[in-house]
C-alpha cells in the first residue's frame, strides 16, 4: 500500500491505496465521489472523464499515483457553494441532454474542458470534443445542443460582468 496526497475539487485528501490503484476507484471508493462512472474500463466510453490539470482524462486509465500534485476536477466539483449547478450542468438539464444519465457526468466534464479552452465552439468543435464520450440513449443531438447552450450562457454571464 502507498500513501497519496491528492487535490480533488480544490480539497486536499490523503488516501492509502494499492500501488496501481486507478483514480476511478479512489474517487468512487475512499473519496466518496460516485459521480464519476465506470462504463467500459478501457478508455473507450468516457463515462469516467475527469479533468487533471485542466485536461480531460479517463479516470479508469489513470493510476491514482500519477495525479499527485495535480488538480483533479470531478463532476461534483462543478457544483457551486449552496448546491448551484454550473452553467454546463444546467444546460444539460434545460437542453434535454440527459436521458438515463449514466454518460452525463463524463459528457459534462468533456464539455467543461472544451469551454474552458474554447468559449465559442462550433457544433463541429463540440462533436470533436465529445468523440470520446459514448451515449446510448440520446443520439447526441440534444447533447450537442446542450453544449452550445452552455457556451452561450457562459458567454452571456461573462459579458454581463458579475455572474452573481
Amino acid at each position: 500500500m502507498i500513501d497519496l496526497e491528492l487535490t480533488v475539487n480544490g480539497e486536499l485528501a490523503r488516501v492509502r491505496v494499492e500501488p496501481g490503484a486507478r483514480l476511478l476507484d479512489v474517487l468512487r471508493g475512499p473519496l466518496g465521489l460516485p459521480g464519476t462512472k465506470e462504463g467500459c474500463g478501457n478508455g473507450e466510453c468516457g463515462a469516467c472523464t475527469v479533468l487533471v490539470a485542466g485536461r480531460p482524462v479517463c479516470a479508469c486509465l489513470t493510476p491514482a499515483a500519477e495525479v499527485e500534485g495535480l488538480e483533479v476536477l470531478t463532476v461534483e466539483g462543478l457544483v457551486g457553494p449552496g448546491g448551484d449547478l454550473s452553467a454546463v450542468q444546467r444546460a444539460f438539464v434545460e437542453g434535454g441532454g440527459v436521458q438515463c444519465g449514466f454518460c452525463t457526468p463524463g459528457m459534462v466534464m468533456s464539455v467543461h474542458a472544451l469551454l474552458e479552452r474554447n468559449p465559442d465552439p462550433t457544433p463541429e468543435d463540440v462533436r470533436e470534443a465529445l468523440t470520446g464520450n459514448l451515449c446510448r440513449c440520446t443520439g447526441y443531438a440534444q447533447i450537442v445542443e446542450s453544449a452550445l447552450l452552455a457556451a452561450r450562457k457562459r458567454r452571456e454571464a461573462r459579458e454581463g460582468g458579475d455572474r452573481a
Partner: protein, 291 residues
C-alpha cells in the same frame, strides 16, 4: 474487495523522476514493464495479456518531455499527444504531425497517450508512425550504457516488436525540418471518427513546379509494421503526377501492401483502401490551393 480485481493488478508501481533512477529500477527488475501514458499498457494489463512483476512509470521523467526546435527538432518520447498538438511552432513546421495527432483516439486519450508510447506499442496502426516515417525521423534509444540512434524505419520489427533491447527505452525522436517545397498529409480510414485505422497513409512530396522531385509514402495497418512503400514512391518520383502516374501509384500500392483480414476489415478491402488513400493524398497535396 471487488474493486481490487478490476485494478491493473501489479505488485509494484514505481515513479522515477530521472532516467538514472529508471535504470536502477530496471536493473533490479529487468522484467518490469515501462509505462508512459498508460492508454495501451493498462488496458492490456487489465485484459491479462501480461503479468509484469512491476510497472515503471516514465511520466515524471522531465527529460523525456522536452520539445527542442532546431534544424533537426527533438521531440521527447514522453510528450503527450495533447502537448504535441498545442505546440504552435512545431505545428507550423510539421503540420502532418498535427493532422495525425488529431486523429489519434479521443481528447481523453490524447491527454495521456505519448508520442513514444504510440511508437513503442509497435502496433501496425500507430497513427503517428506513418507521418514520422515520411519525415524520416530517427529514434533516440537510451540505456544505462548511453544513447544510440536508429532510423524509425528500423525501429519496428513486427507487431508489438521493436528494436529496443533489454534495459533500453525510446527517449526522443529527431526530426529534420522539411525543406521549402515539401508538403505532407496524413489520411486515415476508420469506421467512425475515433477508431483504429483500417488503413492509413502519409505522403510527403517535394515539388518543383508541377514536377515531383521526391516522394515518400508510408502506410499504417497495411503490413505487420508501419512501413514505407518504396514502389509507390518510385512510381511518383520524377513525374508530373498526371492521371496515368496516379493509376500506376494506385496499382503499386495495391501490390506492395501486405494487409491481413481481421474483425475490422478484409485484406482485399484494405488493399483497395491503400490505393485509394495514396491517390487521394497526392491529389490533396497538388490541389492549387495546397500550393
Amino acid at each position: 474487495m471487488s474493486e481490487e480485481v478490476r485494478m491493473p493488478a501489479s505488485p509494484e508501481y514505481h515513479r522515477p523522476r530521472s532516467l538514472e533512477e529508471a535504470w536502477r529500477l530496471l536493473e533490479a527488475q529487468p522484467d518490469a514493464r515501462l509505462v508512459a501514458g498508460g492508454t495501451d499498457v493498462l488496458v492490456r494489463l487489465r485484459e491479462g495479456r501480461y503479468h509484469p512483476p512491476a510497472l515503471v512509470s516514465l511520466r515524471r521523467v522531465e527529460s523525456l518531455r522536452r520539445i527542442e526546435p532546431g534544424r533537426a527538432w527533438t521531440i521527447g518520447a514522453g510528450v503527450s499527444v495533447a502537448e504535441l498538438l498545442e505546440h504552435r511552432e512545431l505545428a507550423a513546421v510539421f503540420p502532418v504531425l498535427v493532422e495525425a495527432g488529431r486523429r489519434l483516439g479521443s481528447a481523453q486519450i490524447r491527454s495521456a497517450a505519448t508520442v513514444g508510447g504510440n511508437l513503442c506499442n509497435a502496433s501496425p496502426c500507430a497513427d503517428l508512425a506513418p507521418p514520422l516515417l515520411v519525415l524520416e525521423a530517427r529514434a533516440l534509444i537510451a540505456s544505462a550504457a548511453g544513447e544510440r540512434e536508429v532510423p524509425l524505419s528500423e525501429f519496428f520489427l513486427g507487431p508489438r516488436r521493436t528494436a529496443l533491447g533489454p534495459g533500453e527505452l525510446l527517449s526522443a525522436l529527431r526530426v529534420e525540418a522539411p525543406p521549402a517545397g515539401a508538403r505532407a498529409t496524413f489520411l486515415k480510414q476508420g469506421r467512425v471518427r475515433m477508431d483504429i485505422a483500417l488503413a492509413s497513409v502519409a505522403v510527403r512530396l517535394e515539388l518543383e513546379g508541377a514536377r515531383c522531385v521526391e516522394a515518400r509514402v508510408a502506410a499504417g495497418s497495411l503490413a505487420p509494421t508501419p512501413t514505407r512503400l518504396g514502389e509507390v514512391e518510385a512510381s511518383l518520383a520524377g513525374t508530373e503526377l498526371d492521371e496515368a502516374t496516379l493509376a500506376r501509384a494506385r496499382a503499386a500500392a495495391e501490390r506492395e501492401v501486405r494487409p491481413i483480414t481481421d474483425v475490422r476489415a478484409s485484406a482485399d478491402y484494405r488493399r483497395h483502401l491503400a490505393g485509394a488513400l495514396v491517390v487521394r493524398a497526392v491529389r490533396a497535396l497538388t490541389r492549387p490551393e495546397a500550393r
